[in-house]
Symmetry: C2
Subunit: 240 residues, 2 copies
DNA sequence: ATCCATCGATAGCTTTACTATCCAATTATT
DNA sequence: AATAATTGGATAGTAAAGCTATCGATGGAT
Protein backbone atom coordinates (compact mmCIF):
# COMPACT_ATOMS: atom_id res chain seq x y z
CA UNK A 1 0.00 0.00 0.00
CA UNK A 2 0.95 3.60 -0.45
CA UNK A 3 2.94 4.64 2.61
CA UNK A 4 2.23 8.29 1.88
CA UNK A 5 -1.45 7.80 2.38
CA UNK A 6 -1.44 5.68 5.45
CA UNK A 7 -2.60 8.54 7.59
CA UNK A 8 -5.60 9.21 5.46
CA UNK A 9 -8.50 7.09 6.56
CA UNK A 10 -10.55 5.90 3.65
CA UNK A 11 -14.18 6.87 3.42
CA UNK A 12 -17.10 6.19 1.19
CA UNK A 13 -18.94 8.77 -0.77
CA UNK A 14 -21.62 9.07 1.87
CA UNK A 15 -19.04 9.99 4.49
CA UNK A 16 -17.41 12.44 2.15
CA UNK A 17 -20.80 14.01 1.71
CA UNK A 18 -21.49 14.08 5.42
CA UNK A 19 -18.11 15.63 6.27
CA UNK A 20 -18.29 18.29 3.62
CA UNK A 21 -21.97 19.05 3.62
CA UNK A 22 -22.06 18.60 -0.13
CA UNK A 23 -24.87 16.29 -1.32
CA UNK A 24 -23.89 13.00 -2.94
CA UNK A 25 -25.36 13.83 -6.37
CA UNK A 26 -23.31 16.99 -6.39
CA UNK A 27 -20.15 15.07 -5.54
CA UNK A 28 -20.91 12.71 -8.38
CA UNK A 29 -21.32 15.70 -10.61
CA UNK A 30 -17.91 17.04 -9.61
CA UNK A 31 -16.41 13.62 -10.28
CA UNK A 32 -17.98 13.58 -13.73
CA UNK A 33 -16.77 17.08 -14.44
CA UNK A 34 -13.24 16.20 -13.44
CA UNK A 35 -13.12 18.65 -10.53
CA UNK A 36 -12.67 15.88 -8.03
CA UNK A 37 -10.34 12.97 -8.77
CA UNK A 38 -11.87 9.51 -8.85
CA UNK A 39 -11.71 7.55 -5.63
CA UNK A 40 -9.76 4.36 -5.18
CA UNK A 41 -11.97 1.86 -6.89
CA UNK A 42 -11.96 -1.38 -4.91
CA UNK A 43 -14.71 -3.05 -6.87
CA UNK A 44 -17.32 -2.30 -9.44
CA UNK A 45 -19.55 -0.69 -6.91
CA UNK A 46 -17.16 0.62 -4.33
CA UNK A 47 -14.63 3.39 -4.27
CA UNK A 48 -12.73 4.88 -1.38
CA UNK A 49 -12.04 8.53 -0.80
CA UNK A 50 -9.58 10.15 1.58
CA UNK A 51 -8.70 13.45 3.18
CA UNK A 52 -7.30 14.71 -0.09
CA UNK A 53 -10.71 14.40 -1.62
CA UNK A 54 -12.27 16.18 1.29
CA UNK A 55 -9.77 18.97 1.00
CA UNK A 56 -10.29 19.27 -2.71
CA UNK A 57 -14.00 19.33 -2.22
CA UNK A 58 -13.71 22.19 0.23
CA UNK A 59 -11.50 24.05 -2.22
CA UNK A 60 -14.06 23.60 -4.98
CA UNK A 61 -16.83 24.94 -2.81
CA UNK A 62 -14.73 27.89 -1.72
CA UNK A 63 -13.92 28.82 -5.30
CA UNK A 64 -17.53 28.41 -6.34
CA UNK A 65 -19.22 30.14 -3.44
CA UNK A 66 -16.74 32.74 -2.27
CA UNK A 67 -14.82 33.27 -5.50
CA UNK A 68 -17.83 32.75 -7.73
CA UNK A 69 -15.60 31.05 -10.25
CA UNK A 70 -17.28 29.03 -12.97
CA UNK A 71 -16.82 25.28 -12.86
CA UNK A 72 -14.92 25.43 -16.13
CA UNK A 73 -12.27 27.69 -14.63
CA UNK A 74 -11.80 25.41 -11.66
CA UNK A 75 -11.41 22.48 -13.98
CA UNK A 76 -8.67 24.28 -15.88
CA UNK A 77 -6.70 24.96 -12.75
CA UNK A 78 -7.00 21.35 -11.70
CA UNK A 79 -6.08 20.07 -15.14
CA UNK A 80 -2.91 22.14 -15.05
CA UNK A 81 -1.96 20.76 -11.67
CA UNK A 82 -2.50 17.20 -12.80
CA UNK A 83 -0.72 17.58 -16.12
CA UNK A 84 2.85 16.68 -15.20
CA UNK A 85 4.18 17.91 -18.53
CA UNK A 86 3.49 21.49 -17.57
CA UNK A 87 6.32 23.00 -15.58
CA UNK A 88 5.86 24.78 -12.31
CA UNK A 89 5.93 28.26 -13.69
CA UNK A 90 3.52 27.59 -16.52
CA UNK A 91 1.22 25.78 -14.15
CA UNK A 92 0.98 28.85 -11.95
CA UNK A 93 0.45 30.95 -15.07
CA UNK A 94 -2.40 28.71 -16.14
CA UNK A 95 -3.94 29.01 -12.72
CA UNK A 96 -3.57 32.77 -12.87
CA UNK A 97 -5.19 33.09 -16.21
CA UNK A 98 -8.00 30.72 -15.33
CA UNK A 99 -8.95 33.18 -12.63
CA UNK A 100 -9.37 36.05 -15.03
CA UNK A 101 -12.59 36.81 -16.82
CA UNK A 102 -11.94 36.43 -20.52
CA UNK A 103 -12.31 39.65 -22.48
CA UNK A 104 -12.03 39.70 -26.20
CA UNK A 105 -9.94 42.58 -27.50
CA UNK A 106 -11.42 45.22 -29.81
CA UNK A 107 -8.35 46.55 -31.60
CA UNK A 108 -10.54 48.38 -34.11
CA UNK A 109 -11.98 50.51 -31.33
CA UNK A 110 -10.02 53.69 -30.66
CA UNK A 111 -10.92 53.78 -26.96
CA UNK A 112 -9.98 50.19 -26.52
CA UNK A 113 -6.60 50.53 -28.19
CA UNK A 114 -5.82 53.57 -26.10
CA UNK A 115 -6.78 51.76 -22.89
CA UNK A 116 -4.70 48.76 -23.78
CA UNK A 117 -1.73 51.01 -24.47
CA UNK A 118 -2.22 52.65 -21.10
CA UNK A 119 -2.16 49.25 -19.44
CA UNK A 120 0.94 48.10 -21.30
CA UNK A 121 2.75 51.32 -20.59
CA UNK A 122 1.92 51.19 -16.92
CA UNK A 123 3.07 47.61 -16.54
CA UNK A 124 6.27 48.49 -18.33
CA UNK A 125 6.81 51.61 -16.20
CA UNK A 126 6.28 49.62 -13.05
CA UNK A 127 8.78 47.07 -14.27
CA UNK A 128 6.34 44.26 -13.67
CA UNK A 129 7.08 40.89 -15.20
CA UNK A 130 3.76 40.19 -16.80
CA UNK A 131 3.45 38.02 -19.84
CA UNK A 132 2.81 40.10 -22.97
CA UNK A 133 -0.14 37.92 -23.90
CA UNK A 134 -1.62 37.70 -20.41
CA UNK A 135 -5.42 37.95 -20.66
CA UNK A 136 -5.29 40.06 -17.52
CA UNK A 137 -4.05 42.96 -19.64
CA UNK A 138 -7.23 42.94 -21.67
CA UNK A 139 -9.30 42.63 -18.56
CA UNK A 140 -7.82 45.80 -17.15
CA UNK A 141 -8.07 47.58 -20.50
CA UNK A 142 -11.75 46.71 -20.66
CA UNK A 143 -12.28 48.17 -17.22
CA UNK A 144 -10.54 51.37 -18.24
CA UNK A 145 -12.69 51.65 -21.36
CA UNK A 146 -15.83 51.13 -19.32
CA UNK A 147 -14.79 53.81 -16.85
CA UNK A 148 -14.26 56.22 -19.70
CA UNK A 149 -17.65 55.40 -21.23
CA UNK A 150 -19.23 56.13 -17.87
CA UNK A 151 -17.69 59.55 -17.78
CA UNK A 152 -14.82 58.77 -15.44
CA UNK A 153 -11.78 58.74 -17.70
CA UNK A 154 -8.83 57.13 -16.02
CA UNK A 155 -5.19 57.93 -16.59
CA UNK A 156 -2.10 56.01 -15.64
CA UNK A 157 -1.67 58.51 -12.86
CA UNK A 158 -5.10 57.61 -11.48
CA UNK A 159 -4.32 53.93 -11.59
CA UNK A 160 -0.80 54.03 -10.19
CA UNK A 161 -1.71 54.35 -6.50
CA UNK A 162 -3.91 51.29 -6.81
CA UNK A 163 -1.13 49.46 -8.57
CA UNK A 164 1.42 50.16 -5.92
CA UNK A 165 -0.95 49.31 -3.13
CA UNK A 166 -1.67 46.02 -4.87
CA UNK A 167 2.01 45.38 -5.36
CA UNK A 168 2.80 46.08 -1.72
CA UNK A 169 0.14 43.70 -0.49
CA UNK A 170 1.20 40.96 -2.85
CA UNK A 171 4.91 41.31 -2.20
CA UNK A 172 4.67 41.54 1.57
CA UNK A 173 1.78 39.22 2.27
CA UNK A 174 0.21 37.03 -0.34
CA UNK A 175 3.34 35.82 -2.02
CA UNK A 176 5.06 34.96 1.22
CA UNK A 177 2.34 32.43 1.92
CA UNK A 178 2.97 30.41 -1.22
CA UNK A 179 5.30 27.43 -0.77
CA UNK A 180 7.14 27.64 -4.06
CA UNK A 181 9.49 24.88 -3.00
CA UNK A 182 6.75 22.47 -2.03
CA UNK A 183 4.74 20.06 -4.16
CA UNK A 184 2.92 21.39 -7.20
CA UNK A 185 -0.56 20.87 -5.96
CA UNK A 186 0.04 22.59 -2.66
CA UNK A 187 1.69 25.57 -4.32
CA UNK A 188 -1.00 26.11 -6.87
CA UNK A 189 -3.71 25.51 -4.35
CA UNK A 190 -2.24 28.11 -2.04
CA UNK A 191 -1.86 30.53 -4.90
CA UNK A 192 -5.46 30.13 -5.91
CA UNK A 193 -6.65 30.45 -2.34
CA UNK A 194 -4.59 33.61 -1.89
CA UNK A 195 -5.85 35.16 -5.07
CA UNK A 196 -9.46 34.30 -4.63
CA UNK A 197 -10.02 34.42 -0.89
CA UNK A 198 -7.69 37.21 0.08
CA UNK A 199 -9.00 38.99 -2.98
CA UNK A 200 -12.46 38.59 -1.63
CA UNK A 201 -11.41 39.67 1.82
CA UNK A 202 -9.84 42.80 0.45
CA UNK A 203 -12.90 43.54 -1.61
CA UNK A 204 -15.13 43.34 1.42
CA UNK A 205 -12.72 45.42 3.47
CA UNK A 206 -12.80 48.07 0.79
CA UNK A 207 -16.56 48.20 0.90
CA UNK A 208 -16.46 48.42 4.67
CA UNK A 209 -14.02 51.28 4.44
CA UNK A 210 -16.22 52.99 1.90
CA UNK A 211 -19.21 52.75 4.14
CA UNK A 212 -17.21 54.07 7.03
CA UNK A 213 -15.87 57.00 5.07
CA UNK A 214 -19.17 58.02 3.54
CA UNK A 215 -20.77 57.86 6.95
CA UNK A 216 -18.01 60.06 8.29
CA UNK A 217 -18.33 62.59 5.51
CA UNK A 218 -22.11 62.70 5.55
CA UNK A 219 -22.06 63.70 9.14
CA UNK A 220 -24.19 61.49 11.16
CA UNK A 221 -23.66 59.46 14.20
CA UNK A 222 -20.92 57.24 12.88
CA UNK A 223 -22.00 53.93 14.27
CA UNK A 224 -24.77 54.48 16.73
CA UNK A 225 -27.67 52.14 17.08
CA UNK A 226 -30.37 54.56 16.00
CA UNK A 227 -29.50 53.85 12.42
CA UNK A 228 -30.69 50.28 12.76
CA UNK A 229 -33.68 51.23 10.65
CA UNK A 230 -31.37 51.64 7.69
CA UNK A 231 -31.02 47.97 7.13
CA UNK A 232 -34.37 46.68 8.21
CA UNK A 233 -36.40 49.42 6.64
CA UNK A 234 -35.05 48.94 3.22
CA UNK A 235 -34.35 45.24 3.19
CA UNK A 236 -31.15 45.99 1.43
CA UNK A 237 -29.93 42.43 1.26
CA UNK A 238 -29.73 41.06 -2.20
CA UNK A 239 -31.98 38.08 -1.79
CA UNK A 240 -31.74 36.76 1.70
CA UNK B 1 -41.31 71.43 -21.40
CA UNK B 2 -38.69 70.53 -18.88
CA UNK B 3 -35.97 73.12 -19.13
CA UNK B 4 -33.53 70.76 -17.51
CA UNK B 5 -33.75 68.36 -20.37
CA UNK B 6 -33.57 70.71 -23.28
CA UNK B 7 -30.02 69.71 -24.07
CA UNK B 8 -30.86 66.07 -24.30
CA UNK B 9 -31.95 65.19 -27.81
CA UNK B 10 -34.74 62.65 -27.82
CA UNK B 11 -34.26 59.31 -29.45
CA UNK B 12 -36.27 56.24 -30.16
CA UNK B 13 -35.52 52.84 -28.86
CA UNK B 14 -33.73 51.85 -32.04
CA UNK B 15 -31.29 54.72 -31.66
CA UNK B 16 -30.78 53.90 -28.02
CA UNK B 17 -29.95 50.41 -29.11
CA UNK B 18 -27.61 51.57 -31.86
CA UNK B 19 -25.75 53.99 -29.58
CA UNK B 20 -25.32 51.54 -26.77
CA UNK B 21 -24.84 48.32 -28.68
CA UNK B 22 -27.53 46.69 -26.59
CA UNK B 23 -30.17 44.84 -28.64
CA UNK B 24 -33.71 46.18 -28.58
CA UNK B 25 -35.25 43.11 -26.92
CA UNK B 26 -32.71 43.44 -24.16
CA UNK B 27 -33.57 47.09 -23.66
CA UNK B 28 -37.22 46.12 -23.44
CA UNK B 29 -36.26 43.53 -20.86
CA UNK B 30 -34.46 46.15 -18.76
CA UNK B 31 -37.52 48.40 -19.04
CA UNK B 32 -39.74 45.57 -17.87
CA UNK B 33 -37.41 44.78 -15.01
CA UNK B 34 -37.35 48.39 -13.88
CA UNK B 35 -33.63 48.85 -14.48
CA UNK B 36 -34.22 51.48 -17.08
CA UNK B 37 -36.89 54.13 -16.54
CA UNK B 38 -39.70 54.30 -19.06
CA UNK B 39 -39.24 56.74 -21.89
CA UNK B 40 -41.39 59.77 -22.45
CA UNK B 41 -44.49 58.21 -23.90
CA UNK B 42 -45.84 60.46 -26.65
CA UNK B 43 -48.46 58.03 -27.90
CA UNK B 44 -49.49 54.45 -27.57
CA UNK B 45 -46.70 53.28 -29.80
CA UNK B 46 -44.05 55.89 -29.34
CA UNK B 47 -41.76 56.75 -26.49
CA UNK B 48 -38.75 59.01 -26.44
CA UNK B 49 -35.49 58.34 -24.68
CA UNK B 50 -32.68 60.72 -23.92
CA UNK B 51 -29.06 60.84 -22.85
CA UNK B 52 -30.04 59.89 -19.31
CA UNK B 53 -31.36 56.63 -20.60
CA UNK B 54 -28.22 56.04 -22.58
CA UNK B 55 -26.10 56.76 -19.55
CA UNK B 56 -28.21 54.50 -17.38
CA UNK B 57 -27.99 51.76 -19.95
CA UNK B 58 -24.22 51.97 -19.98
CA UNK B 59 -24.20 51.83 -16.20
CA UNK B 60 -26.36 48.70 -16.23
CA UNK B 61 -24.07 47.00 -18.69
CA UNK B 62 -21.00 47.96 -16.71
CA UNK B 63 -22.46 46.56 -13.50
CA UNK B 64 -23.55 43.40 -15.26
CA UNK B 65 -20.49 42.71 -17.34
CA UNK B 66 -17.63 44.16 -15.34
CA UNK B 67 -19.11 43.94 -11.87
CA UNK B 68 -21.04 40.74 -12.53
CA UNK B 69 -23.84 42.04 -10.34
CA UNK B 70 -27.18 40.29 -10.57
CA UNK B 71 -30.02 42.21 -12.13
CA UNK B 72 -31.88 42.14 -8.83
CA UNK B 73 -29.06 44.02 -7.09
CA UNK B 74 -28.98 46.66 -9.77
CA UNK B 75 -32.71 47.09 -9.44
CA UNK B 76 -32.36 47.62 -5.71
CA UNK B 77 -29.81 50.37 -6.14
CA UNK B 78 -32.03 52.08 -8.68
CA UNK B 79 -35.10 51.73 -6.55
CA UNK B 80 -33.31 53.41 -3.66
CA UNK B 81 -32.26 56.32 -5.85
CA UNK B 82 -35.77 56.80 -7.13
CA UNK B 83 -37.44 56.53 -3.76
CA UNK B 84 -37.43 60.12 -2.55
CA UNK B 85 -38.48 59.12 0.95
CA UNK B 86 -35.10 57.55 1.60
CA UNK B 87 -32.55 60.08 2.76
CA UNK B 88 -29.17 60.52 1.25
CA UNK B 89 -27.27 58.51 3.78
CA UNK B 90 -29.66 55.57 3.77
CA UNK B 91 -29.70 55.60 0.01
CA UNK B 92 -25.94 55.19 -0.10
CA UNK B 93 -26.25 52.48 2.52
CA UNK B 94 -28.76 50.64 0.40
CA UNK B 95 -26.48 50.90 -2.57
CA UNK B 96 -23.59 49.61 -0.51
CA UNK B 97 -25.47 46.64 0.77
CA UNK B 98 -26.90 45.80 -2.63
CA UNK B 99 -23.34 45.31 -3.78
CA UNK B 100 -22.59 42.70 -1.19
CA UNK B 101 -23.23 39.03 -1.68
CA UNK B 102 -25.77 37.96 0.88
CA UNK B 103 -24.47 35.46 3.39
CA UNK B 104 -26.73 33.93 5.96
CA UNK B 105 -25.15 33.77 9.41
CA UNK B 106 -24.56 30.48 11.22
CA UNK B 107 -24.50 31.53 14.85
CA UNK B 108 -24.70 27.91 15.93
CA UNK B 109 -21.38 27.19 14.27
CA UNK B 110 -18.39 27.76 16.53
CA UNK B 111 -16.06 28.73 13.68
CA UNK B 112 -18.58 31.12 12.32
CA UNK B 113 -19.19 32.87 15.60
CA UNK B 114 -15.49 33.22 16.17
CA UNK B 115 -14.97 34.69 12.72
CA UNK B 116 -17.80 37.12 13.16
CA UNK B 117 -16.33 38.22 16.47
CA UNK B 118 -12.97 38.75 14.81
CA UNK B 119 -14.61 40.94 12.20
CA UNK B 120 -16.54 42.98 14.74
CA UNK B 121 -13.50 43.44 16.93
CA UNK B 122 -11.38 44.54 14.02
CA UNK B 123 -13.92 47.06 12.81
CA UNK B 124 -14.18 48.41 16.34
CA UNK B 125 -10.41 48.54 16.77
CA UNK B 126 -10.05 50.40 13.51
CA UNK B 127 -12.71 52.83 14.63
CA UNK B 128 -14.65 52.35 11.44
CA UNK B 129 -18.20 53.59 11.30
CA UNK B 130 -19.87 50.51 9.94
CA UNK B 131 -23.48 49.73 10.69
CA UNK B 132 -23.78 46.92 13.25
CA UNK B 133 -26.19 45.06 10.99
CA UNK B 134 -24.27 45.62 7.76
CA UNK B 135 -24.39 42.42 5.70
CA UNK B 136 -20.79 43.11 4.76
CA UNK B 137 -19.76 41.93 8.22
CA UNK B 138 -21.17 38.50 7.54
CA UNK B 139 -19.58 38.44 4.15
CA UNK B 140 -16.17 38.96 5.65
CA UNK B 141 -16.85 36.49 8.44
CA UNK B 142 -17.78 33.87 5.89
CA UNK B 143 -14.53 34.44 4.05
CA UNK B 144 -12.57 34.06 7.27
CA UNK B 145 -14.36 30.80 8.04
CA UNK B 146 -13.64 29.49 4.58
CA UNK B 147 -9.97 30.36 4.91
CA UNK B 148 -9.83 28.47 8.16
CA UNK B 149 -11.54 25.44 6.65
CA UNK B 150 -8.98 25.46 3.89
CA UNK B 151 -6.16 25.31 6.37
CA UNK B 152 -5.21 28.98 6.28
CA UNK B 153 -6.48 30.33 9.59
CA UNK B 154 -6.60 34.09 9.59
CA UNK B 155 -6.17 36.36 12.56
CA UNK B 156 -6.97 40.01 12.96
CA UNK B 157 -3.27 40.63 12.64
CA UNK B 158 -3.28 38.94 9.23
CA UNK B 159 -6.20 41.01 8.07
CA UNK B 160 -5.10 44.38 9.39
CA UNK B 161 -2.61 45.25 6.64
CA UNK B 162 -5.30 44.61 4.07
CA UNK B 163 -7.72 46.73 6.03
CA UNK B 164 -5.42 49.69 6.27
CA UNK B 165 -4.47 49.46 2.63
CA UNK B 166 -8.15 49.42 1.76
CA UNK B 167 -8.82 52.34 4.04
CA UNK B 168 -5.99 54.37 2.54
CA UNK B 169 -7.22 53.82 -0.99
CA UNK B 170 -10.78 54.68 -0.13
CA UNK B 171 -9.95 57.76 1.91
CA UNK B 172 -7.44 59.24 -0.51
CA UNK B 173 -8.96 58.23 -3.81
CA UNK B 174 -12.36 56.66 -4.15
CA UNK B 175 -14.21 58.84 -1.72
CA UNK B 176 -12.83 62.07 -3.13
CA UNK B 177 -14.49 61.28 -6.44
CA UNK B 178 -17.98 61.14 -4.98
CA UNK B 179 -19.96 64.38 -5.23
CA UNK B 180 -21.76 64.21 -1.91
CA UNK B 181 -23.18 67.68 -2.44
CA UNK B 182 -24.60 66.95 -5.87
CA UNK B 183 -27.89 65.36 -6.86
CA UNK B 184 -28.79 61.97 -5.41
CA UNK B 185 -28.59 60.01 -8.59
CA UNK B 186 -25.16 61.33 -9.52
CA UNK B 187 -23.78 60.65 -6.07
CA UNK B 188 -25.03 57.12 -5.84
CA UNK B 189 -24.06 56.40 -9.39
CA UNK B 190 -20.54 57.58 -8.74
CA UNK B 191 -20.38 55.58 -5.55
CA UNK B 192 -21.45 52.43 -7.31
CA UNK B 193 -19.05 53.02 -10.17
CA UNK B 194 -16.22 53.55 -7.73
CA UNK B 195 -16.98 50.47 -5.76
CA UNK B 196 -17.54 48.18 -8.67
CA UNK B 197 -15.18 49.43 -11.34
CA UNK B 198 -12.29 50.58 -9.20
CA UNK B 199 -12.81 47.40 -7.23
CA UNK B 200 -12.44 45.46 -10.43
CA UNK B 201 -9.42 47.48 -11.47
CA UNK B 202 -7.75 46.79 -8.18
CA UNK B 203 -8.55 43.12 -8.40
CA UNK B 204 -6.94 42.86 -11.80
CA UNK B 205 -3.94 44.86 -10.66
CA UNK B 206 -3.52 42.48 -7.76
CA UNK B 207 -3.50 39.52 -10.09
CA UNK B 208 -1.00 41.26 -12.33
CA UNK B 209 1.20 41.92 -9.34
CA UNK B 210 0.88 38.30 -8.29
CA UNK B 211 1.97 37.10 -11.68
CA UNK B 212 4.87 39.49 -11.66
CA UNK B 213 6.00 38.43 -8.21
CA UNK B 214 5.72 34.72 -8.81
CA UNK B 215 7.62 35.11 -12.02
CA UNK B 216 10.31 37.01 -10.15
CA UNK B 217 10.57 34.44 -7.40
CA UNK B 218 10.52 31.44 -9.68
CA UNK B 219 13.54 32.73 -11.49
CA UNK B 220 12.96 32.87 -15.09
CA UNK B 221 13.28 35.50 -17.68
CA UNK B 222 10.82 37.92 -16.20
CA UNK B 223 8.98 38.99 -19.30
CA UNK B 224 10.82 37.73 -22.33
CA UNK B 225 9.07 36.58 -25.45
CA UNK B 226 10.19 32.97 -25.32
CA UNK B 227 7.46 32.30 -22.81
CA UNK B 228 4.78 33.02 -25.37
CA UNK B 229 4.04 29.34 -25.46
CA UNK B 230 2.68 29.63 -21.93
CA UNK B 231 -0.53 31.16 -23.07
CA UNK B 232 -1.02 29.53 -26.41
CA UNK B 233 0.08 26.09 -25.38
CA UNK B 234 -2.35 25.71 -22.59
CA UNK B 235 -5.22 27.79 -23.86
CA UNK B 236 -5.53 29.20 -20.43
CA UNK B 237 -8.44 31.49 -21.19
CA UNK B 238 -11.61 30.60 -19.49
CA UNK B 239 -13.84 30.16 -22.47
CA UNK B 240 -12.75 32.51 -25.20
C1' DA C 1 -52.74 54.24 -48.70
C1' DT C 2 -49.21 51.94 -47.41
C1' DC C 3 -45.34 50.73 -44.91
C1' DC C 4 -42.54 50.37 -41.10
C1' DA C 5 -41.13 51.08 -36.24
C1' DT C 6 -42.82 50.72 -31.70
C1' DC C 7 -45.29 49.02 -27.75
C1' DG C 8 -46.76 45.53 -24.68
C1' DA C 9 -47.33 40.97 -23.66
C1' DT C 10 -46.01 36.39 -23.74
C1' DA C 11 -43.38 32.60 -24.67
C1' DG C 12 -39.08 30.50 -25.68
C1' DC C 13 -34.09 29.94 -25.41
C1' DT C 14 -29.30 29.22 -23.39
C1' DT C 15 -26.14 28.49 -19.96
C1' DT C 16 -24.80 27.02 -15.46
C1' DA C 17 -24.92 24.29 -11.61
C1' DC C 18 -26.95 21.15 -9.83
C1' DT C 19 -30.59 17.19 -8.58
C1' DA C 20 -33.24 13.03 -9.30
C1' DT C 21 -34.02 8.51 -11.05
C1' DC C 22 -32.68 4.00 -12.70
C1' DC C 23 -30.27 -0.14 -12.83
C1' DA C 24 -26.96 -3.51 -12.08
C1' DA C 25 -23.51 -4.90 -8.93
C1' DT C 26 -22.07 -5.54 -4.82
C1' DT C 27 -21.85 -5.52 0.36
C1' DA C 28 -23.95 -5.84 4.66
C1' DT C 29 -27.50 -7.79 7.67
C1' DT C 30 -30.32 -11.12 9.47
C1' DA D 1 -29.10 -17.92 2.13
C1' DA D 2 -32.36 -14.32 1.65
C1' DT D 3 -32.96 -9.76 1.82
C1' DA D 4 -32.04 -4.97 2.39
C1' DA D 5 -28.95 -1.09 1.68
C1' DT D 6 -25.28 1.29 -0.73
C1' DT D 7 -22.54 2.40 -4.56
C1' DG D 8 -21.18 3.54 -9.24
C1' DG D 9 -22.41 4.87 -13.74
C1' DA D 10 -25.58 6.68 -16.90
C1' DT D 11 -29.13 9.63 -18.18
C1' DA D 12 -32.52 12.85 -17.72
C1' DG D 13 -34.75 16.50 -15.42
C1' DT D 14 -34.75 21.05 -12.81
C1' DA D 15 -34.16 25.95 -11.35
C1' DA D 16 -32.53 30.36 -11.87
C1' DA D 17 -30.65 34.05 -14.56
C1' DG D 18 -30.41 36.71 -18.47
C1' DC D 19 -31.71 37.35 -22.37
C1' DT D 20 -34.25 36.71 -27.30
C1' DA D 21 -38.04 35.97 -30.46
C1' DT D 22 -42.66 36.46 -31.94
C1' DC D 23 -47.17 38.50 -32.34
C1' DG D 24 -50.83 41.71 -32.87
C1' DA D 25 -52.37 46.34 -32.49
C1' DT D 26 -51.29 51.14 -33.21
C1' DG D 27 -49.89 55.12 -35.21
C1' DG D 28 -46.57 58.20 -37.36
C1' DA D 29 -43.93 58.78 -41.83
C1' DT D 30 -43.95 59.00 -47.16
Amino acid sequence: MDIGKQYYPAMRISQLSAESGVPIPTIKYYLREGLLPQGDQTSATRAEYDQEHLRRLRLIRALLEVGRLPVAAIRQVIAAVDDERIDFHDMLGTAHYALSTPVEPHPEDEDWREARELVDRMIADLGWGVHPLAPTRNELAQTVVTLKRLGMPTSQEDLLPYASAAHDLVRDLDITKIPFDGPRDVAVETLVICEVLYGKAFDVLRRLAQESESTRILDVTPCSDDGASKVTRQGAHRDA
